[in-house]
Amino acid sequence: MDAPVRKLRVATTSLAGCFGCHMSLLDLDEGLIGLLERIELDRSPLTDTKEVGECDVGIVEGGVCNAENVEVLREFRRRCKVLVALGACALNGGLPAQRNVLSLPLLLQEVYRAEPGAEHGRIPDDPELPLPLDRVHPLHEVVRIDHFIPGCPPPAEAIGAVLGSLLAGEARPLDPALIHFD
């Protein structure tokens, strides 16, 4: 019998994303059972842990659209040996980055002042709310990223393949059939 292997400690988070990439991870279905024997989850929407600990791998979904995203992403970079950008928004900014063609002041004006809504014509200024950046950035423009998994969402098999290669301690390139830039 082999000695029990140390489990890989993995943290995940979604920044300016829709959690669709996390849903895709769950699409590994019964593959999750085998996977969970070899990894343990740290901070993740799946554990609801709020702080990220020292990890082997961090998986980040979504782009960087506000001050909080910056803080969380930097924390992940500090704590995780390997950082993986997961999905179209993390790689390219994706849907949230569609606002990049407009200036932020114009957007805030249009959303909060022009239309009478919940804020009664005021731009929300509660310190609890993270301030938006002037434009949405992909992760690799803010911190160093080690691996990229494209797709909207990336197929479960692609996520499984990357985790598998990290577990094996190697960086195998993704099978082109698993790469979707959609």
């Binding site: 001050a67 910056v70 803080e71 930097r74 970079r77 500090r78 200036s103 932020l104 002041p105 805030l108 731009i123 929300p124 200024d125 310190p127 993270p130 301030l131 938006p132 950046l133 002037d134 434009r135 950035h137 423009e141 803010v142 911190v143 160093r144």
Partner: protein, 606 residues
Amino acid sequence: MCSAVRREPDPAEAAATAMARHRHDPHELVQVLIEVQEACGWIPPPAIDCIQARLGLPRARILGVATFYAFLHIFPRGRYRILFSDNITDRMLGSEALLQRLCRSLWVERGRVSEDGLVSVDTTSCTGLCDQGPALLVNGRAMGRLTPARIDEVAEKVREAVPLEDWPAAWFRVDDPVRRRDALLSGTWPPGEALRAGLARGAEALVGEVKASRLRGRGGAGFPTGQKWAACRDAPGRTRYLVCNADEGEPGNFKDRVLLSTAADAVIEGMTLGALATGARRGFLYLRGEYRFLLAHLEDVLARRRAQRLLGESILGHEGFDFDVAIHVGAGAYVCGEESALIESLEGRRGMPRNRPPYPVTQGYLGEPTVVNNVETFASACLVALHGAKWYARLGTPESAGTKLLCVSGDCARPGTYEYPFGVSLREVLSDCGAGEAQAVQVSGPSGATVPAAEFGRRIGFEDLPTAGAVMVFGRERDLFEVARNFVHFFAHESCGFCTPCRVGTSLLRNMMDKLAHGHGSPYDFAEIERLNRLLQVMSHCGLGHSACNPVLGTIAKFRPAYQRRLAHEEFEPAFDLDRALAAARQMTGRDDAAAHVREEEEGTA
């Protein structure tokens, strides 16, 4: 203030006139749009309506073409459209400061049109006046030898709205300094003599003679000319075409300008020889938009040659030898120098390279066999017809027969055109042009090779340093990183946008070089630059993408310290200031609490 009331030309009328001049042929779309642009200063919607209706082209196609070419505008760009040539040699002569001076003087922001719609000031890719820079184009007219005083005079003419025709003609004078002549430039023959020699040999023997002379293409790639002519002649087709590629867009090159202005007869005569050899009956001279000032001269030469029966029907009385040349003007697109993109442009489309094969010799213009040769190639073919293959092949080296025009610019006392037999060493060229202590030479332009001083013994020729002609000299004090960055900006601007590796890759490369230049570089970025270059080289659709990485790879290989100096940070950092990225939101919300800021990260934590 406007000194005279100017009648705005009617756009629909301008379009109708242009279309009539081009026989309402949809293949002439680029020419029609250029003429509307010239008449109106831009391409207004009513002109597009008119073209759409009369030529029966989809509007998207017309807009697609109009937005592809840098000198065509579907929005007003001012009555005076001033574009500074942005080659590295212009920059070395202070073009940036001159541009800023003009902007300040005219109260206009670079790239924008002034509030009153009078003027816009921006940059454009190399205009081919590197031997007399810094240079600019005003409404397409070339102006070299710029000085601060001249810039102030230009500003005054613009402010007073003096029509361009009334600006001093001396400002638009283009010189053609030739510093060394060899077989081609010293050979003078009466128009028609090379053609008579060709006719005396006969078409079949002429092709054989050109093959035996080992004449190779002068655009840089060096394809054997005789082989190309034979392939076109033998390809099945209803008719054949011949194209002279004068879309000299590679920054640092200007020898085609010099040839067309001082030896146009030789060029046209070489084309006529090509027609004799291949059986082509129609020829095009694709003149880059920046050389529009040569148009009247070239039309004169063509008209005279027609009168001399050197063009037209039954040339020199030979029944069935019919050939004529039409000039097609470009509109600011480097990629059109690639032969299949050039043909697309001739056919009235966006200049996007085709898949090859099929090569133009079998399926070129309108799908028929087409020869595309460089200006200098055609001129050189005359020497073969006149003196024979043996005589010609003795010039130069075994792999590179004949002579080569070099365009010398940059840090040297005597910039200009130099003709040498192939095989000349860079050291000899540098000594002749008075380069002094040069640090490096860029041979053939951005897509060519960066040669450091230690390798100045290398020789011009297909065996060692193939070149379209450019020899840009960089003195000791120049920063080779900035040279490469200028070239990378050039490729990002000129990518045709067809394939993703090049469209996105050249822009990413530009952004990364800018990141290093702005002091945000780390070894991580350097690794990314190297990775991206490999992708560009392997994945791009055409030569533009393949060669877009050359200046960076070349300077990394030979001038690594210029890069290492810029890797200021050990760890990755963003190319932009994260805290400043929150400034707009802070202002809109009036917040200034701790959470409204991004902390400066300490080195080594990210």
